[in-house]
Amino acid sequence: MADIVIDRVVKEFGSFRALQEVSLTVNDGEFVALLGPSGCGKTTLLRIIAGLETQTSGRVVIGGQDVSHLSPRKRGLAMVFQNYAVFPHMTVFENVAFGLRMQKAAAADVKRKVERAAALLHIESYLDRYPAKLSGGQRQRVAVARALAVEPAVLLMDEPLSNLDALLRLEMRTELKAVLREAGTTTIYVTHDQTEAMGLADRIAVMYGGKIDQIGSPLEIYATPATRFVGGFIGSPPMNFIKVRCSQGTARIGDAALPCPVTAESLELGLRGEDASLSADGSGLPFDVRVVEPMGSHLLLTGAIDGQLARIVAPPTAEVTAGERVGLTVDPARVTWIDSTTGRALARA
């Protein structure tokens, strides 16, 4: 077990700056997800932690030891790769045993640990098969078992579920969470899938353009995004952003008035689709409904607030028709105010 300190790590590819002074601390036994769109630098950061890539500057400290310039094998970690990288010329047993064999563990020890990892991931029944005969989900299990068999201090996972189909992904996600909780390994998990990050992680680091925009628990990140990007990236439908004018601490949209902070010149109102409710008498924020999509569990309404695109989630039984103007009630405590010029959220009143 070990904690990880990433200290002002910079990575440049030629003139392109993939990571700009990223700092992050992962506590012992914690599960942190690096979440962001493709090209945001999350995989690069993970590979720097693993030692597969060398940082341009900055330090990586694992369990108190500066590993910045150590080769991957000396860092005491295990990794699950996006395409699993299960060795095709070895049986499942030999794959899972690979790390232990490299540590020159005793044969009995190897057998015991492989069997335990295999049991954890339910792959005991095909230990003597070759990976070519396994399905994608099974290979994925082998890759995780191989990583857990060495009982690593740190486990790194690079989009391990992205190659599975949707149903299997859901199943593996649940199982992975149970397995990793039991193992209690410090884990860094790279993904572009917000539901994976929300469901698995203790904390999420949202990355964008080579920087970490926000670090926090899934709920924090969802409810109080630190930047416009985080609000727009997390949540389905994404957060709505409505440009408003704030005068004397009040923003007026239609006949609704919301208290707003006055520190910025131009403001955007960040509003989650499910944080607005349809008012009974049509008062409140005016919302012109254009499309109504019944999703089963809810109605997804797409329309405009003050001429700006917005998506609102309504109860499945609500009677709304396209073309109608409805009123929305908004709890001022649940909205996020964003400074349009910097894109950063303003401190809550």
């Binding site: 693993a50 030692g51 597969l52 080769s71 991957p72 094998r73 970690l77 295990a78 990794m79 790769f81 996006q82 395409n83 990288a85 060795f87 095709p88 010329h89 690979f98 790390g99 490299m102 540590q103 191989r146 060495v150």
Partner: protein, 286 residues
């Protein structure tokens, strides 16, 4: 060659059910032509080699060997120097295989895994060595070889054959290593391998089929090469070079026997490693 025809037969008949009969006919005609193209000349050479002195001159030729005899073959092998030349050929070809893999595979690995300045120029340069005519080099090479004590040795011949085989070895292994995902290696590093261990434990076993194919190329190039072998040797000739000299003044059925012996090793070698070749071409052989 026959093995590949047999191997594709079940698949072809299965698919044949779905094919219109005209296309099926075309497929089988094509196959037959291809097989005949390879097998008929080999068969005729064999017929000449084993048909005896009279069989060679008989006309019209019978398809079946009338008086099968190993006389020509054994007499041919008994000619002084033939056995020695055969051994020289095997030594030269074997050394060529070893050298071109030992030198070509690392070059191919470097081309596949690292990006460095002048990579494309280097790749072109590797090929350009083949464009340089050996004939121009013949005299200076002979002089240098005599000076270095390499003249008239199978080792010396294998060096020149390595030069001929190396560009292919480097380029074929390059595409071979490119086809092996980098993640395998990275996984090996993470799980405790040094770079060299990762190569030996993970990359090498996966590259083996392709390396076998490269070895075949090198072997065949060396085995078939006449020009350099003739220039650089006098007594310790390779089989091709030796045959070129003695067969011109031998009876016809000896020439067939010599030709047949030249064919055998290549066929045997390809037959032995065909499983790996099919793996390279993506044909399952199980």
């Amino acid at each position: 060659m026959t093995a590949s025809a047999v191997a594709t037969k079940p698949a072809a008949t299965n698919r044949g059910m779905a094919l219109p009969s005209a296309r099926r006919l075309l497929l089988w005609t094509g196959l037959a032509v291809l097989i005949a193209w390879v097998l008929v000349p080999i068969y005729l050479v064999a017929l000449g080699a084993f048909g005896g002195r009279l069989g060679v001159f008989r006309w019209p030729k019978s398809i079946w060997p009338s008086d099968l005899s190993f006389a020509a073959m054994s007499q041919f092998l008994a000619i002084e120097g033939v056995f020695n030349a055969l051994v020289n050929s095997l030594i030269a070809a074997g050394l060529t295989v070893v050298f071109s893999i030992a030198l070509g595979a690392p070059a191919g690995y470097a081309l596949a895994r690292y990006s460095f300045r002048g990579q494309n120029a280097y790749r072109l340069l590797v090929l350009l060595t083949r464009a340089f005519p050996l004939a121009i080099l013949a005299l200076p090479l002979t002089v240098s070889f005599i000076r270095l004590g390499l003249y008239d040795t199978p080792f010396g011949v294998s060096l020149i054959h390595t030069v001929l085989a190396l560009p292919f070895a480097a380029l074929v292994t390059q595409s071979l290593f490119m086809g092996i995902p980098r993640e395998y290696e990275e996984a090996a590093w993470v799980f405790g391998c040094t770079r060299f261990q990762a190569f030996v434990k993970v990359i090498l076993p996966l590259a083996l089929p392709g390396l076998a194919a490269t070895a075949i190329f090198a072997f065949v190039i060396s085995w078939n090469e006449v020009f350099a072998a003739s220039i650089l040797t006098v007594r310790e000739r390779t089989l091709t070079a030796y045959l070129l000299r003695i067969l011109a003044e031998s009876p016809l059925h000896y020439r067939f026997a010599g030709g047949f012996i030249l064919i055998i090793p290549s066929v045997l070698f390809i037959f032995a490693v065909r499983r790996y070749l099919f793996a390279v071409w993506g044909i399952a052989s199980k």
